[in-house]
Amino acid sequence: MVKNKKSGILKLKKELPFHLMLLPGILITFIFSYIPMLGMKIAFQKFIPAKGLFGDQIWNGLDNFTYLINMPGAMTALKNTIIIAFWKIILGIIIPVIVALMLNEVRSSKLRRSVQTAIYLPYFLSWVIFAGILIDILSPSGGVVAQMLRVIGVDPPFFLGSNKLFQPTLIWTDIWKSFGFGTIVYLAAITGVDTSLYEAATMDGAGRLQKMWHITLPGIRMVVVLMSVLALGNVLNAGFDQVQNLISPQVYSSGDILDTFIYRIGLIDAQFGPATALGVFKSAVSCLFISVSYYVAYKFFDYRIF
């Protein structure tokens, strides 16, 4: 007992610096993620901001939630969010993996590097800038895309003004902007695959495609799973920056997502109660999603964070 206790103290002494290193992170999480949860009470109040958060507010139960359900646009925003986020997640995994596999087969390292740089570049532009560029090149009257389509005799569609095309446009431009980043992660994972496996496969007469399928892909499986689990936590964040910069009243019904909706009713219309209610709802659903995805990853791929 005595010995055990002593070693425990010794161990703690040894590990103390590491525990201290955790402290700032815990503090920041507490301050910025846990204290703010107090604000959730606004969701159940007829909130008059001037009275202050802890002032004498009127409690109104679930009124804000029923108000939202009846509010035109809220449910559309939820639907749009799920659809947009779903496709962004699926394509955001598949495309970088494919590109990484293809780039890995490129023998010339110079070419590989320049391609890598080129596709990685848009990742560094903020959405404000990227959206400005997109609006210009996608404009049906003067945009580059429209002019090219006209050359081949196609009537250019209105990518950002049509409810049919707005969602695909959001998804593909997001992929365009971000797939370079994913590609680099997967390329890094590929370098970690044991090269002796490839040599053995070559001895057995495996072709390039077979090696890709039987060695490279299983080799980076864990990274793919990790990226998917991380992405699923974001399922209700369909990309505020992007949508806010590209949306217009004409495409609210196909492009409005929860975040832009909350922004409008909360900050512009100052309806803090309903906006918070929607935020609470969104957090609850996100929490559910990440729990499920983590469970699935654990069950089927034996993936665990801790």
Binding site: M37, I48, P249, I268
Partner: protein
């Protein structure tokens, strides 16, 4: 990330707590300072009295591009300009800006400021925000200070168009805001057309909607700019932030032409009804849908704001738009700068029954200056209003220096307190017409004199005078803005919003959502994504989601003031 929303509110909490703490402290300091100061300034109320010991007033305000441009052009900036100097010299008031933001962001910033509780001494808010602030007791009742400190000229001026500007500020019998008055009749839509295009195609300015359709058709198809390309649209339109707000491409007047009044409350059988849910809107929407399908309005209009919609006009690809009187200073002027053959005119809007249309106008006073509860010198704001009015339009004033000098037409906007003389533009127009008829300029005073000298420079044909083309199109002889507005006003073709009270409880809560629903539905119907019958569904939804309650409350107000 998933906690982003909560984080925002959490931050608000932290900021609120922090700022409350900070407030507490500074209040104490101020109280002490104020005690010493108010001791000095006791005595009878003097509307123009100077504080012996200069006082600081903290303001918050919005700014715009034109004001920022003056820094390089004439060396005056937000923090250092003629108006701030005047207030300091004549009243002993030093204006300090807690924050200044540009344009649309102002409303949001005020909302956040209200939420944080950290108010400046004085700021301009809209009716909804004013009601919120008054109900939560953060601003003070100004009725007494207004009564004793407002100069006679100020009082007269503010009520020039009637009691309306004060009605929304009357909450529970107190006066909670000083109206930033503007001329309501100035805000009605007119039909701006390029006369040279009409001449080229042998057309007349449209007086009925049928003629309007004809002009739209010809402007689209018959190459009015004569460049041999199919690059013009008949009628300008914009859809962001809504089809009823803004200058070039505003469609409010188009609806008015069809007897629909989509953004005001109208009287029907003695009861007030919201204009956007009346059947007339359906007619207008049907026509617009057809125009869209036939590509007679820009297919991209839905994502354009008025600036974007005005760009084709500047380069001569758009020649007709509904818009307010001041539009002349923007696209027509810029178009004229590029092409001197461009001839723009503002006509009364066409109507359906052979007579001219009736334009809707809202109460143009849509901002009120509110004073923080603990601020010790509420009278200072009223003194500033007195000085502003007097310098711009009073007997001792100098309009050309203070209001709109030649090199800085919007100089007046540098003043943080800027109630306008509501009928000044009509008055100026009358004086100018009189002077032109008699060929004498002796009797011209104030603003009319300033404007006349601008028109004179334009008429002289000098290179320098070309920048005043827009002014001429507003104040010159018919068909110009004021000639047409006067014609419409005198013949009873202007309809005023009947609801001018403080926003009702349900209105505060739900009106903006309902308006958004209106904008979205209308846009969708126009571009054909929704069937015209979607309008009936909108009316039902509107009533279900609060419209009915709002209408009831509005009518209760209406009976109470009749």
């Amino acid at each position: 990330m998933r906690k982003k929303r909560m984080m925002c509110f959490g931050l608000a909490v932290v900021m609120t707590v922090g700022s409350l703490a900070a407030c507490g402290k500074s209040d104490d300091n101020e109280k002490q300072e104020d005690k010493t100061k108010s001791a000095e300034s006791t005595g009878p109320a003097d509307p123009f009295g100077k504080y012996a010991d200069p006082i600081d007033i903290h303001f918050a305000r919005s700014t715009e591009d034109v004001l920022e441009g003056y820094e390089s052009a004439i060396g005056q900036s937000m923090d250092d300009n003629l108006w701030l100097d005047t207030f300091k010299e004549e009243l002993g008031i030093k204006v300090v800006y807690d924050w200044v933001v540009k344009g649309d962001a102002y409303k949001q910033k005020v909302n956040v400021t209200i939420a944080s509780g950290d108010l400046p001494d004085v700021m301009a808010v809209d009716a909804t925000q004013m009601t919120q602030l008054a109900e939560s007791g953060l601003i003070q009742d100004l009725s007494d200070v207004y009564e004793s400190y407002a100069a006679d000229f100020t009082k007269e001026s503010m009520k020039q168009e009637g009691e309306e500007p004060f009605m929304a500020a009357q909450i529970d019998g107190g006066l909670y805001g000083i109206p930033v008055t503007f001329g309501s009749y100035d805000s009605g839509d007119l039909l701006w057309i390029r006369d040279d295009w009409l001449d080229k195609l042998n057309l007349e300015a449209p007086k009925t909607t049928d003629e309007l359709m004809n002009v739209i058709d010809k402007f689209t198809k018959e190459d009015p700019d004569g460049n041999g390309k199919d690059d013009t649209y008949g009628l300008a339109a914009h859809g962001t932030p809504s089809i009823f707000e803004g200058g070039y491409g505003c469609l409010k007047g188009f609806f008015n032409s069809y007897g629909a009044y989509p953004s005001i409350w109208i009287e029907k059988d003695g009861k007030l009804e919201y204009g956007a849910v009346q059947d007339e809107c359906k007619d207008a929407l049907e026509v617009l849908q057809k125009l869209y399908v036939d590509k007679k309005i820009n297919p991209e209009f839905g994502v354009m704001d008025d600036n974007k919609a005005g760009e084709p006009a500047v380069v001569g690809q758009s020649g007709m738009s509904y818009g307010p009187q001041w539009l002349g200073l923007v696209q027509p002027q810029e178009n004229y700068n590029n092409d001197e053959n461009a001839k723009w005119s503002a006509y009364p809007i066409p109507g359906t029954d052979g007579d001219m249309g009736t334009a809707e106008v809202n109460l143009a006073t849509n901002q009120w200056l509110v004073v923080r509860k603990d601020f010790k010198h509420p009278e200072a704001v009223i003194k500033m209003a007195n000085v502003f009015m007097e310098k711009c339009w009073g007997k001792t004033g100098d309009n050309a220096k203070y209001y709109a000098p030649e090199d800085a037409g919007s100089l007046w906007k540098f003043s943080p307190v800027m109630p306008n003389l509501p009928l000044k533009n009509f008055d100026a127009y009358d004086q100018i017409q009189e002077a032109m008829k008699n060929k004498t300029t002796d009797q011209l005073t104030g603003e009319a004199k300033t404007i006349y000298s601008k028109l004179d420079k334009y008429y002289s044909g000098s290179e320098d005078g070309k920048q005043f083309y827009g002014w001429e199109r507003i104040y010159g002889p018919a068909p110009t803005s004021y000639a047409s507005i006067k014609e419409m006003k005198d013949s009873g073709h202007i309809i005023m919003n009947k609801f001018v009270g403080a926003p009702t409880p349900t209105m505060t809560e739900k009106m903006s959502t309902l308006e958004k629903m209106r904008n979205e539905t209308f846009n969708k119907i126009i571009i054909g994504e929704a069937d015209i019958n979607e309008f009936d569904k909108f009316v039902k939804e509107f009533n279900k989601l609060g419209g009915e309650d709002i209408t009831k409350e509005v009518n209760e107000w209406y009976t109470s003031v009749q």
